[in-house]
């Protein structure tokens, strides 16, 4: 048994941190947020050059063997730097989609994803209780040999800069997956900013014609959802890993603050109630890491996977969320000032709690699968 970081992981962690400290500091990030489009292009190119876009995929599509531990290590670093580019959606989810559903050696789509040449996104909605996960409310019409689709969807991620939209649609009780092209298949997207400066989109189809030549595959419902469930769990774990990076960072910032802030002629970290709270935080962040490892080791066995990913997500929505609140509290007024980084970490934890199913959703899922 080996639950320590591998040499690869150490390397990935160090190089990611080095790169992010230099190129994705809190100050730099602020300027990225002011010009998101430009920042996305620049950063995505960098991510591709660093090999990050291939980390989760095997060598024969241009990746780096797809080791899950390595991928999750990178996710953690992205979390600590509050990276806003939707790697989970424009890289992991879509890449895993092609891997699971359309795997052929040298898959062209995967190559494009890994090289960063083209941006893919999957039309699904990882909201808090997976209502309309794959747009079950779309209306499909067949008339004069034409199939059209209409309807509106919320909480789609990864549409900031997409070229292709992988679109699963239920037709005649089978899932048809289309590859829609930006500016060719016309539909409306409206982008919104979240409380932690991510972009979330609303997509609306108005009798969009689904053309035969954009059909990627047809698959029965059961198989589709089994495979999708793996992909979603993978993405959920990636989000929990980012959250782990955030929680680690919040802990470090708070500890540092308590060691420097003085009141009543002492460091506030000298008060025993504060010490106990910091100790609790220390334990929470370690437990969170342990559950994260459990998730990484359980991905390939379905029942284990479902249960352990749910546990990680429940932990995020309960103990880790509570800890994030405590971190703000111990910063006093500084905790609520937007110019400090701690609040930005707090906001992102808040967002993550509500995506990919909240803790109540996962408690139920765990119970059903136990």
């Amino acid at each position: 048994m080996n639950l320590s970081l591998s040499e690869d992981q150490v390397l990935i962690k160090e190089s990611a941190e080095k790169f992010l400290n230099l190129n994705y500091s809190f100050e730099k990030r602020r300027s990225f947020l002011e010009n998101k489009k430009e920042a996305y292009k620049k950063n995505w190119k960098n991510f591709a050059e660093l090999g990050w876009l291939g980390l989760a995929f095997s060598e024969d599509v241009g990746g780096f063997d797809g080791n899950i531990n390595n991928t999750m290590t990178l996710m953690e670093s992205l979390g600590s730097a509050l990276v806003s580019e939707p790697l989970i959606f424009n890289n992991l989810v879509v890449g895993k989609f092609f891997e699971k559903f359309l795997y052929v050696k040298g898959n062209e789509h995967l190559k494009e994803i890994i090289s960063g040449e083209k941006i893919y996104s999957l039309l699904f909605s990882p909201n808090q209780n997976y209502k309309n996960l794959i747009l079950d409310t779309l209306i499909v019409k067949k008339e004069n040999n034409k199939t059209t689709v209409s309807g509106k969807y919320n909480f789609i991620f990864g549409l900031d800069e997409f070229d292709y939209l992988i679109t699963p649609i239920l037709i005649d009780n089978k899932i048809h997956v289309y590859l829609l092209k930006k500016n060719i298949d016309l539909f409306d997207t409206r982008n919104y900013e979240t409380i932690d400066n991510l972009v979330v989109s609303e997509v609306e189809f108005n009798s969009l014609e689904l053309k035969e030549n954009s059909l990627l595959l047809t698959i029965n419902k059961k198989e589709f959802f089994e495979k999708l469930s793996y992909i979603i769990d993978y993405a959920t774990l990636a989000m929990c890993s980012q959250a782990l990076g955030i929680i680690d960072k919040m802990y470090a910032l708070t500890l540092e603050y308590c060691k420097t802030r003085e009141q009543f002629g002492k460091k506030i970290g000298a008060f025993q109630v504060i010490q106990h709270r910091l100790v609790d935080m220390h334990i929470v962040k370690e437990e969170m890491r342990s559950l994260n490892y459990m998730g990484q080791l359980s991905m390939e066995e379905e029942q284990q996977r479902i249960k352990s990913i749910s546990l990680s997500k429940i932990f995020l929505g309960t103990n880790a969320k509570h800890m994030s609140q405590d971190c703000i509290q111990l910063h006093g007024g500084m905790g609520v000032a937007k110019e400090m980084s701690i609040g930005h970490y707090f906001a992102r934890i808040t967002t993550f709690c509500s995506l990919f199913g909240n803790s109540d959703y996962h408690k139920e899922r765990y119970a059903i699968n136990d």
């Binding site: 919320n154 900013e193 009141q263 609140q325 000032a337 937007k338 707090f346």
Partner: protein, 398 residues
């Protein structure tokens, strides 16, 4: 206090309801019930109307122009205004500095300040905290040096709520450095239009502008503006703090927030059933209601003792702790109830106005912002850790 409503209580309730109806449009109230914030003008107009009707300054004696309501009347007023989502009375003038001036002010000071507080011509802010002095307020460094008939004030106040709107600030300053910290503090009233004052916004997590840093550079403050005696500011501040902490419990507003939460949970669905019927969710909601009633009846017990003449002591700390926690917990569960719409930035309270319009239901528009914003409740007004220190010392004798 007896909680069986008598005819006169019901009559009073109806008066308040009618008054709200005739002063605030349904549209304005609806906006507020969805988390919209009132403008300065809306708040001032509301306060002015209350005063005209004789419903303002419920905590002031009649001879000073207050309405001197009994606890039942205050309770009813708070409930009705909270349920209707009226503007909240800004506490710094009427709730905080008003009673201080009544208790410690000279007759000239009373004449000068009280009428303008009553008719809301003056907006006040509280200048206590400094960058280096929050929990340890007594360590404050803003200096007031005596020069003839004036003090020259230099220093920095921070986290100052609504200083951007303020005409006056009540301020703690250091007038003596050669003694125990508490003994060298004075309570000054400072005209915010004085030369040498600069107010800079602090933007909070929700993107709103509520608090500020106030820089004071060689600000000339006439000695007539000193309340009570020089170096006796701590006594005044302590008297005031007990007022701040009771109003901070916000029971009625929390009750109203729970009502809204229940409405949301009846509209939202989970597995095709109303969310409110989901046992996991419902249990959390019931727990909140329990907390709310435990707080409500604790406050009523305290008010009732107070009406019988008992001095309000450290109980205020208890109300502050539970009241602030409850506000946070309600906002947390409301965030859960509105689903992922809660994480989309409000187009209402965020001053950056990044989102042109809000894609979700109206009631979800400010929910995420509110959750972020309310982290403040356990920090301000003396943090909850400090309240616990007070209780363990004053009540438990530890």
């Amino acid at each position: 206090m007896n909680l069986n409503y008598r005819d006169e209580d019901n009559k009073f309730r109806k008066e308040i309801k009618d008054f709200i109806k005739s002063n605030l449009s349904e549209e304005v109230l609806k906006k507020a019930s969805n988390g919209g914030k009132y403008t300065k003008d809306e708040i001032v107009n509301w306060q002015k109307a209350l005063f005209k009707k004789g419903m303002f300054a419920s905590n002031w004696p009649k001879e000073y122009g207050g309405c001197d309501w009994n606890p039942m009347q205050r309770y009813i007023f708070d409930q009705e205004t909270a349920f209707a989502n009226t503007p909240q009375i800004v506490p710094f003038g009427v709730t905080m500095v008003g009673p201080v001036i009544i208790k410690f002010g000279t007759s000239i000071q009373k004449e000068r300040y009280l009428p303008k507080i009553l008719n809301s011509d003056h907006w006040w802010c509280q200048g206590y905290s400094e960058p280096g002095s929050g929990s340890d307020l007594a360590s404050l460094q803003t200096k007031a040096v005596s020069e003839g008939n004036n003090y020259i004030v230099n220093g920095t106040k921070t986290w100052t709520t609504l200083a951007q709107h303020s005409d006056w600030m009540f301020c703690l300053v250091r007038t003596n450095t050669k003694c125990k910290p508490q003994e060298g503090i004075s309570f000054l009233l400072i005209d915010m239009n004085s030369k040498g004052i600069k107010v800079e916004p602090i933007i909070t997590l929700d993107g709103s502008h509520e608090i500020n840093t106030v820089y004071l550079e060689d600000v000339v403050v006439p000695k007539d503006n000193l309340i009570y005696e020089e170096n006796k500011g701590w006594t005044v501040a302590k008297y005031l703090l007990s007022h701040e902490r009771t109003s901070i419990a916000q029971v009625a507003r929390s009750k109203s927030a729970i009502k809204k939460l229940k409405y949301i949970a009846s509209q939202e669905t989970y597995s095709n059933r109303p969310l409110i019927n989901n046992v996991r969710f419902r249990d959390k909601l019931t727990k909140l209601e329990m907390d709310m009633h435990a707080l409500e009846y604790s406050e009523l017990r305290i008010l009732s003792d107070e009406a019988k003449g008992a001095a309000l002591g450290s109980e205020a700390s208890f109300l502050k702790i539970r009241g602030s926690e409850l506000q946070q917990k309600i906002s947390e569960l409301t965030l859960e109830a509105v689903g992922s719409f809660g994480i989309i930035q409000s187009n209402e309270s965020n001053i950056e106005k990044t989102n042109e319009y809000f894609p979700g239901p109206e009631y979800a528009n400010n929910v995420g912002a509110e959750y972020l914003n309310l982290r403040k409740t356990t920090i301000y007004g003396g943090s909850n850790e400090i309240q616990k220190n007070i209780l363990s010392k004053m009540v438990l004798g530890l």
